[in-house]
Each structure stands twice: as C-alpha cells, then as structure tokens.
C-alpha cells in the first residue's frame, strides 16, 4: 500500500516535471523571456558603468551584477511558471487528482530550478565576455557553479511558494517582487560573497567562499523545509 502510493507519487512527480519541460520546449516562453531580460540587464550595466573610468575594475562588483541579473530574471520565470497553471484553471485540476501536495511543490520547484540554471549557464559567458575581459579570472573555477547552484536552489524553492501565492493576487508580478526581495536578502548576501570570492580569489578567498556556501546551505535547508511544510496551505486556499 505504502509502496504503491510512493510509486504513484513518483509517477505524478515525473508527469508534472515532464509536462513543464515539454511545454517550455514547445513555447520557449520562459527561456527566451528570461534570457532576453538577462541580456537587457547587461545593457543597463553598460550604461551604469559607462562613467566609471578606466581605473575601475568591473571584477570587483561582478558577483553583485550577476546576482542582480539572476534575481530579476528568476522572478520573471517564477511568475510565468505559475501563470501556466492558473490560466485555464489547471491548478484546480491538479488538486482534484489524488496527489500529495508536496509532490506538486517539488515538481514545480525542480522545474523552476532547471530553467534558472539554464539561464545562468547562458548568461555567465555573455557577462564574462562583455565585462571581464581585461582582468584575468583569479579564483578557483569550480567555485562558481557551486555558488550558483546553492543560490538557485534557494531561489527556486522559496520562489515557487511565493509565486503560487502571487498568481492569486491582484498585482501578480509586483507582489512577487515585494515578497521575494526582502525574503531573499540573506541568501543574496551570502551568494554574492561566495561568488565574489570565486571571481576575485586572493588571500582568504577560500574561507570566504565556504562561509558563504555554509550560509546558503543553511538558508536553503531552513527555507525549503518551511516552504515544503506550508505549501499545502497555500495551494489549498
């Protein structure tokens, strides 16, 4: 009985994830909008840094700029991923099926994580190409993907919960931004610190990196647990 239920949960989890990926591959809505948004952010950065002078080394703020781009693109994507479910009342159809609510949460969160990682992978080379050419990359290369992954996990986990709330409100994307940014503040601070250590290298950078990673891991663990526990209430309301 328990095994049977677990088998069904796994089948449902795969079905939701598969459906999201198929729909995305077909419409390419999220990837193109998020990717374009990231590119446009680069243009804004160019404008912002245009008066900073030749002595200014963009590497010093590279980590911050990268995470800024990720935060805004991810909010765009999160909003999209839940609007799909809401549009034709499909979320209701999901809730009517014999599915455990956490299965929906994990499937949606993993889907969002995948899309966010894809956008990160696409954005980083472009960012490096546009802004980081004059200085050589000083840190350890494996640090970057680790920091990006830890940050993306937190964003997609809590973000899925918040986006499920915000699609049911009057000012969808605005409400998501207002809820998302302050809640994510600790994660972003740690993510920027770790990524910065990876980009800049130097004395103590390894320690700074692991401190940031530890903080992110802690945030991810606590917040994912809370989101997981509270999702049932949100989705049922």
């Amino acid at each position: 009985m328990a095994g049977e239920a677990r088998g069904l949960s796994l089948r449902q989890f795969k079905a939701i994830l598969h459906k999201d990926i198929v729909m995305e591959l077909r419409t390419k809505e999220m990837i193109t909008s998020m990717g374009l948004y990231a590119l446009l952010t680069m243009v804004i950065y160019q404008v912002a840094l245009s008066q900073s002078g030749t002595a200014f080394d963009p590497r010093n703020i590279a980590a911050g700029l990268l995470w800024l781009a990720f935060v805004f693109t991810s909010m765009l994507g999160l909003n999209r991923s839940l609007v799909h479910e809401k549009d034709q009342g499909c979320l209701e159809a999901l809730l009517l099926s014999p599915v455990d609510r956490p299965v929906i949460f994990f499937a949606k969160a993993i889907g969002n994580l995948i899309f966010l990682l894809i956008v990160q992978v696409l954005t980083i080379p472009v960012f490096a190409f546009l802004f980081l050419q004059q200085g050589s990359y000083a840190g350890e290369w494996w640090m970057i993907p680790l920091a990006l992954l830890a940050g993306a996990i937190g964003i997609s986990g809590v973000g899925t919960l918040l986006a499920t709330m915000s699609v049911n409100t009057k000012g969808k994307d605005f409400v998501l931004t207002v809820l998302f940014v302050p809640l994510m503040y600790p994660l972003l601070l740690a993510a920027v610190s770790a990524t910065s250590a990876a980009v800049l290298g130097g004395d103590g950078s390894v320690q700074q990196f692991w401190t940031g990673m530890g903080m992110m891991a802690g945030f991810d663990a606590i917040m994912l647990l809370a989101s997981f526990a509270l999702y049932e209430f949100i989705v049922g309301a």
Binding site: L8, G89, C90, E92, L96, S97
Partner: protein, 243 residues
Amino acid sequence: MTEPATIDAAVEVRDLTRTFGARKALDRVTFDLPTGAFLSIFGPNGAGKTTLVKVLTTLTAPSKGTAKVSGFDVVADAVELRSRIGLISHNPLLYPDLSAEENLVFFADMYGVPDAATRVRELLVAVELDHRRLDLVRTFSRGMLQRLSIARALLHRPKVLFLDEPYSGLDPHAVEILDHLIEQIRADHTFVMISHDLVKGLALCSHALILAKGKVVLSAPREELDEAEFAETYRATVGLGVA
C-alpha cells in the same frame, strides 16, 4: 483500497457548515443523493453552490458536519475520494500548449491510471477527437475543448461526476454535443451539477436542490416537484440575493 461495505447513497451530506468569521457560506446543509441520480443545484450568486461543490470535491474543508461521496469521507478519506470523482467545469482545465493526447496522458499519470496509452486512445475515440489527438489544445474550438475535458474527467472511471456550470458560454452546437455526451455516460455515473439555467438544469436532473444564503431551501426528487411552484421558489430565492 477497499470499497466501503454499503453504498446506498452516492452523496451523503449531514449538517454541513462552512463559516469564516461571521460569514456563513454553508449553513447546516443536509441531503442524500442515491447512486445513479442527477442532482441539479440552483441558487443565486453567493448562495454557497460553489462552496458546496468545493467541499464535496475535497478542495475545501468543512467547518462542521460531515459529507461523504461514494461512501468516502471528504476529510478522512480525501485521497481515495479524489480518485473516484471527476469534474467538468466551464473552464476546460486543460493545458493549451500540450496536444490533446499529451493532456490526457498527463492526467492519466496524475490519477495513476493503469495502461494509460490504451485508455487515452479509447477515450479519444469515444469523444471523436482521435483524428486531432496530436494537435495543440490551443487550436481547439469550444465544442472540441468541452469534449476533451469530458474525456479528461472520465479517464480514471470516476463514480461521481461534478459539473460546474458546464453550459455557460457554449454555442448551441456545443450545447448539443455536451447533451449528447452526458446522455451517453448518464447510465453509469452519479451527477452533481451547479446550474444557473433553470430550464436546462431541471430538464436534466432527477433531483433538485435550491440553496440560498448557504441554506437548503428546497431538496426533492424531480417527480415530486411541481414545476410552476419550483420556479416560484427559485425566483423568490434569487430575490434574497447574496448571503
């Protein structure tokens, strides 16, 4: 998964109350519906029709009282209950960017339907959409959507079907198709329908229920109803307005 010993009533509602603060969406609603019956629920906007169906489909928990569908309690046996009911709404509840077949396969997975591919094909043939199974749902007409959404609701062979104003926004042709499909599956299912349309709702039903301000104003089998009197009661409740 064992069936309960006795299934006399498909739907069994006792003193069902749903409150939030001072507002009462449902107020001691009590009624029974025998297996195989067709219940039409009438009532003005805000009378509690939608809340009643939400409670019966386990989407909302009751504040007080009990409700059983197909012998399963809406709170204690929610998961078992869900696999025995289907919903046809005025919303198609389908993903526009998936094909007809992908939609059905997806929901078959959600319900854990065994041998999903065969079942999906069988239903597509039954609703005469087999030739369009690879087309995106986005390209479908209202009538086709309605047919597909009936196929979706029937995937897991539910015992009780809930209809949430399925006729709203349909053109006459689509209404005909829907009538025909309901006629076809009428024999093996119990129906609970929310209706705004007095004539249509009364024509289809075997039992009628009028809700107003969350209370049952009238609940009776079709044959015991005097049509003129019924229409009068209905009109009077509409005058009561929103609860």
